[in-house]
């Protein structure tokens, strides 16, 4: 028996999607406040040393604190406070990024309740599940389940562990992990057999073969991922960290070796009075640290880990779980996208395009029956039949209320038909050709010869045939065939054009014959297609691309996709897929939406662009800071150096303080950008570089001049600052 349930986890909100632009969650000011305690906790040098730039900052802050306590001044205290704030702001950026993940992790934890599992023993796959077996099931706490156990789950119960359905069909509420409230069907065999622990069976009874190890369930992994506990630095992040560390060392050397030069210069001009910046012992410690902190790349150093965490988070917001940051980066580098036709390029649901009468039936009759059978059919296919009946045959839309006493027969996986039994005894059915013709034959009716040829013709052209039949006065007969056609999704052509401009080749994978495949490929505007694709074909295509050192991304759901998913550089498994597929891929899409692959690529790129843009910005900032601090330090000794004070800052003290304050505030100002990612528009590399160089390079040169000047205009009124 199951233990008591907690309330159903809140459905997570999904970020609205604008095509062509990867949006991210906005920064809520409340988050800043909530993360402040964490920011203080991160001051611990044992954790901070991992970030060399900010660690140097903290050491500097400690140093100025000591100096200022020994030799107190307003200037010294203000610098000290702002140096500490610089470190805190960096910690805050990271804490805010992590905080978002923690909120999601809490939601997930609520799904991880202590479920009792009902384990059955002495049963083998294929044997009937008898009532005896079910009642004799042994009750064990879910954490004690082992790989290979069989558990039985009935309607209303939580699934205790990840596994594959090996017996039965059930509808399952997976909102705990996907946020999607509509139930999904899980059945034994086939590609929709995987179930996730923590989700709830809504109907029927299934037997699940446990595939997870204790404590390594999908939800456990999700929690670890969104919390950032499993976060490892990605290859690019490591490389960037190395570059930043070496820049930090260079500036550390530049500042440290300045001291003997300053002492010499001061001694050379004995008449010059001591100033807060420079005395006979050289540049004062507070000013030296200020120069250092302003020069080392604090902006990117402060935001680097937040950018990485936020990048993973943006994926999670889109219900994609990346098993590693490496995969996210690889997504940005992808050269070839393998896209399944159905669901990605075309609407997963085909639409009615034509009613073809057979066996001498009138076209109107077919339309009428097709419409009747689809009244209660809320699927897009069903709706499209009603729409076609109205537009092509002028049949007025009817609703269920107009047919008193009518009994609607819903579609089921077993019968593969749906329809309606009217009050006057007339029965109408539509469905798969084999199912409907069997229904007609079983009722004693004859199946006209042209049914077979019509159905085959539609299939051959890439469409899906649905046969419509009716039974009046106990004589069933086939009326006609509905031609359901693939409809290419709106906007796909533009997206593929964008991909091409980004240098990404798109390949459509389909089981259709080459003729149909070509027609759809041309209509959608993909670069290439693979028709009548078997899993082996997919695999060899991936290997061929990879031999040319190209990175390949694909989606898949079936067990037979697993090898290809594992081989691809970015393999996105659908959550509806099998456990094997989910294991093999390096990402799981909880929405099972294959179009996401395109968004994943964009998020991967955006992650790198954000890092690059802020690095450029951070380094470009140094120019203005030099112009603020160098004259402030040395114009007292060599008055000519005041000419470098091109911002005409108020005084040496206000100049240095302004530079330090700007340096700290720019971190806070850029936190939203770091979390959201810089704006990304798919375009050629040259265009993208030009745009980002102008904004973050040239902008990074100019902005601090204005910023420091403005801060200087304000702080010159602080009493104690000359």
């Amino acid at each position: 028996m199951t233990a008591t349930y907690t309330e159903r986890p809140a459905v997570r909100a999904r970020a609205p999607r604008t095509p062509g632009r990867v949006s991210g969650g906005l920064l809520d000011p409340k988050q800043l406040w909530q993360s402040t305690p964490d920011a203080f906790r991160k001051l611990d040098p044992r954790t901070l040393w991992r970030n060399p730039v900010m660690f140097i900052c903290e050491v500097g802050a400690v140093f100025t604190t000591v100096l200022t306590i020994a030799n107190s001044s307003v200037f010294g205290w203000l610098i000290t406070i702002w140096l500490w704030l610089t470190v805190l702001f960096a910690n805050l950026a990271e804490a805010v990024a992590e905080g978002r993940g923690k909120a999601q992790a809490d939601t997930l934890r609520r799904a991880k309740t202590d479920t009792m599992a009902r384990r059955i023993s002495g049963w083998q796959i294929g044997q009937p599940v008898t009532a005896n077996l079910v009642s004799g099931a042994e009750s064990v706490p879910a954490p004690q389940l082992r790989q290979g156990d069989f558990v039985v789950i009935e309607a209303g119960q939580l699934i205790p562990a990840d596994g594959d359905v090996v017996d039965g069909v059930a509808s399952v509420d997976e909102s705990a992990i996907t946020g999607e409230s509509a139930p999904v069907i899980r059945e034994s065999g086939g590609d929709r057999s995987a179930v996730t622990g923590g989700t709830r069976v809504l109907s029927d009874r299934i037997v699940v073969h446990v595939t997870q190890k204790p404590g390594e369930s999908f939800i456990d992994r999700m929690i670890a991922l969104v919390e950032g506990a499993a976060r490892q630095k990605t290859p690019n992040e490591i490389a960037l960290n190395i570059l930043l560390a070496s820049l930090t060392i260079i500036f550390l050397l530049a500042v440290a070796t300045l001291q003997p030069l300053a002492i010499f210069s001061k001694a050379n001009q004995p008449g010059v009075p001591n100033s807060p910046a420079l005395d006979m012992h050289g540049v004062t410690g507070v000013v030296l640290v200020s120069l250092l902190v302003c020069l080392i790349p604090t902006t990117i150093g402060a935001l680097l880990s937040a950018i990485g965490i936020a990048g993973m988070d943006r994926l999670v917001q889109r219900n994609v779980l990346a098993m590693s940051g490496r995969a996210v980066e690889a997504a940005g580098d992808v050269n070839t996208l393998l896209l399944d036709k159905t669901g990605t390029i075309t609407l997963g649901n085909r639409q009615a395009s034509e009613f073809i009468p057979v066996g001498g039936a009138a076209a109107n009759e077919v339309a009428d029956a097709a419409q009747l059978s689809s009244i209660a059919d809320e699927t897009p296919e069903g709706r499209s039949v009603v729409v076609l009946a109205k537009t092509a045959y002028g049949l007025r839309e009817r609703d269920e209320g107009e047919l008193p006493g009518a009994e609607f027969v819903p579609f089921s996986a077993q019968t593969r038909m749906s329809g309606v039994d009217l009050a006057d005894g007339r029965q109408v059915r539509k469905g798969a050709a084999t199912a409907v013709t069997a229904w007609v034959r079983d009722g004693g009716g004859a199946v006209p010869e042209d049914v077979g040829s019509t159905v085959d013709g539609i299939s051959a052209s890439g469409g899906t045939p649905l046969v419509v039949a009716e039974r009046v006065h106990d004589v069933p007969r086939v009326l006609g065939v509905i031609h359901l056609k693939d409809v290419v999704k709106e906007g796909m052509r533009e997206r593929f054009d964008e991909m091409r401009r980004m240098g990404i080749r798109t390949v459509m994978i389909t089981g259709d014959n080459p003729l149909t495949a070509r027609a759809i490929a041309d209509e959608a505007g993909v670069d290439d297609f693979l028709a009548e694709a078997t899993p082996e074909d997919k695999m060899s295509l991936i290997k061929k691309e990879q031999q040319g050192n190209k990175l390949v991304a694909m989606t898949g759901d079936g067990t037979n996709d697993a090898p290809a998913l594992a081989q691809a550089d970015v393999g996105v498994a659908m959550n509806t897929g099998t456990s094997a597929a989910k294991e093999a891929g390096n990402m799981v899409d909880l929405d099972s939406d294959p179009t996401k692959l395109i968004e994943i690529v964009e998020i991967g790129k955006q992650l790198l662009i954000t890092r690059g843009a802020l690095t450029t910005f951070s380094i470009a900032n140094d120019v203005a800071k030099y112009f603020a601090i160098i004259p402030a330090m040395f114009a007292g000794v060599y008055s000519g150096l005041d000419k470098l004070n091109i911002m005409r800052l108020h005084s040496p003290e206000s100049a240095i303080l302004s530079a330090v304050i700007f340096n700290a505030l720019i971190i806070v100002a850029l936190i939203p950008l770091a979390l959201r990612g810089v704006r990304y528009r798919p375009s050629s590399a040259a265009n993208m570089l030009r745009r980002n160089l102008y904004i973050y390079g040239v902008g990074g040169l100019i902005l601090p001049f204005a910023g420091i000047k403005i801060i200087d205009l304000i702080i010159q009124f602080i009493p104690g600052i000359r």
Binding site: N236, A254, F264, K550, A686
Partner: protein, 553 residues
């Protein structure tokens, strides 16, 4: 002909000469390093050295060969200098002191040619010819070999082999440096440079005074001094000496020789990686930096507001009247933008801004066009860093010429750009902190500081020119500068070869419209910006207390 027209013609001719050299010479060098054929003379060398010229080396072995060869060179030259009085053609000069020998040996082996001695009063002809001039050839060749190894790293795929150092070294000497040196030595002799083994002649001048006129194998050494961007003068006055630089047109030829290899190697690079546009971009950035640098020096020299410069129409102090201010400025820019360090005027006498530009030129890491080989690998390292940042900005794992730049590659490139500033800054800082060493300054105040900064900048970038005004023949200065030269020469080579090794292993990523186009002007702008901001800005605080303090009133 007015002097401004003369200068204009001088520059135009120089540019035309370099442009005409670029293609044929660059292609020729590419052939030298890709050809499978060995010359007979080369085979003899290989047999003597026990080298199999057809076997290639992975990067650690290539590096070991470079270091072993250089170590032996230092030891050999050290012994030579210590013992020169026991050998013939010593002109009676005593052996050099241990610290001076160490300094000079390090200096010539590292292609620096910092001279803490005066050629005409310390080095005999045998030492000059068989010791120093030989190093002028091979130290230049070592630089080129390392640069070629890096180019092979970009050009090759899925291999750990970077070529054979001994073959690269021998071919550079036999097929590139020697033929040019022979031809130009004859030209220089024709122009009036001396080439003999005569001792000093004492002559009576027109006014009746006595003067000692030196002889020596000058022309042969002069060519390689410029061609190999060595810069070590036969005489103390270097290229301002009439025997080293007799006429205006030898001055032109010397500047041309300084720049010829540096400006043509990018073509070799473009050729070997199979994309000539890439070479064109590199040479474009080099030219831009050179043009800006020259423009700034000449402006500083001609527009100084002092009383004397205004009266003379330019800062003529320290320049040869034969060459004049503008030509001297071209020479100064060329010599500090390459690792040459030869001078035909004295940078110490330049206006403070003019002098500052020569310091900044070296501070850039000598990449425009830089020393033989070292200029190319220096700018390629900066290109790697620029590509890294630019590549991130277009949303891909950065790749340069199809090779991905990951942690390992960036580690080598970062360490490379760290080495030279560390040598320069730490050296300057220590020198300024020690009162005894500060006493070596002949000037006080900011100008004295500039002299010390210049000395370490020159040693740390293997330039070898001196601001003068510093008595450096002391044990401390000789040792400190020698260490700076050795560290700043060979540590970067370790990183360059390491980078080359990890690049060569990679299979290149195919190019697409998503690839960063590293042959467009926008990338040239980015590379220039990175060079200026990342490299040159490092020295701004020090410059502020030296030339800037002096120049801004």
């Amino acid at each position: 002909m007015s002097s401004s027209v003369a200068v204009f013609l001088f520059l135009v001719l120089l540019v035309v000469a370099l442009v005409l050299t670029y293609r044929p010479f660059g292609d020729y060098m590419a052939r030298v390093f890709t050809s499978a054929r060995h010359l007979r003379a080369e085979r003899v060398i290989y047999r003597i050295g026990g080298v199999d010229p057809d076997s290639e080396q992975p990067w650690p072995r290539y590096l070991r060969s470079v270091l072993a060869f250089s170590l032996i060179s230092v030891l050999f030259l050290y012994g030579f200098l210590r013992l020169q009085h026991k050998l013939f053609l010593s002109l009676g000069f005593p052996g050099m002191s241990p610290s001076l020998s160490f300094n000079t040996a390090s200096s010539f082996v590292t292609n620096t040619n910092w001279q803490a001695y005066s050629g005409e009063s310390a080095a005999g002809y045998l030492v000059q010819m068989a010791g120093l001039a030989v190093q002028n050839f091979v130290s230049a060749a070592v630089g080129i070999a390392v640069a070629i190894a890096l180019v092979r790293g970009f050009a090759r795929r899925r291999t750990d082999k970077l070529g054979n150092f001994w073959v690269d070294l021998t071919r550079t000497v036999f097929r590139i440096l020697l033929p040019i040196a022979v031809v130009f030595a004859i030209v220089f002799v024709a122009a009036g440079m001396v080439q003999n083994f005569h001792d000093f002649h004492t002559v009576t001048t027109l006014t009746g005074g006595k003067q000692a006129i030196p002889g020596g194998p000058v022309a042969s050494q002069e060519v390689i001094k410029e061609l190999g961007t060595n810069g070590g003068g036969f005489f103390n006055a270097n290229s301002a000496h009439p025997f080293e630089n007799p006429t205006n047109w030898t001055n032109f030829l010397e500047i041309y020789l300084i720049l010829a290899i540096g400006f043509s190697l990018p073509r070799t690079f473009g050729r070997m990686v199979g994309d000539k546009r890439q070479g064109l971009l590199i040479v474009g950035v080099m030219s831009l930096l050179m043009a800006v640098s020259f423009g700034l020096i000449i402006t500083a020299q001609l527009t100084h507001h002092g009383t004397v410069p205004t009266a003379a129409g330019g800062s003529t102090e320290g320049t040869e009247t034969r060459f004049g201010v503008p030509q001297s400025a071209v020479f100064a820019a060329a010599t500090t933008l390459t690792s040459t360090g030869a001078v035909d005027s004295f940078h110490d006498s330049y206006t403070s801004f003019g002098g500052m530009i020569t310091i900044v030129n070296m501070g850039l890491g000598e990449i425009a066009p830089g020393g033989t080989g070292s200029g190319l690998y220096g700018i390629l390292i900066l290109a790697v860093l620029s590509v890294f940042v630019a590549g991130l900005m277009i949303g891909r794992t950065p790749e340069y010429l199809g090779k991905k730049l990951g942690g390992r590659e960036i580690k080598f490139a970062s360490l490379y750009i760290l080495t030279t500033p560390a040598c320069v800054l730490i050296g300057t800082g220590i020198a300024m902190a020690l009162p005894g060493e500060r006493a070596s300054m002949l000037n006080s105040g900011p100008h004295g500081l500039s002299e010390v900064l210049y000395a370490f900048m020159s040693a740390g970038n293997n330039n070898g020119s001196a601001f003068a005004g510093l008595s450096v023949n002391t044990t401390w200065w000789n040792t400190a500068l020698a260490l700076a030269m050795l560290i700043a020469r060979f540590l970067p080579m370790v990183f360059v070869l390491g980078l080359a090794g990890s690049l060569a292993k990679q299979e290149p990523v195919p190019e697409s419209v998503g690839t960063l186009p590293t042959y467009r002007p926008q990338f040239a702008g980015m590379l220039t910006g990175v060079a200026l901001i990342v490299v040159a800005l490092t020295y701004l605080p020090a410059l502020a207390l030296g030339p800037l303090a002096e120049g801004l009133h």
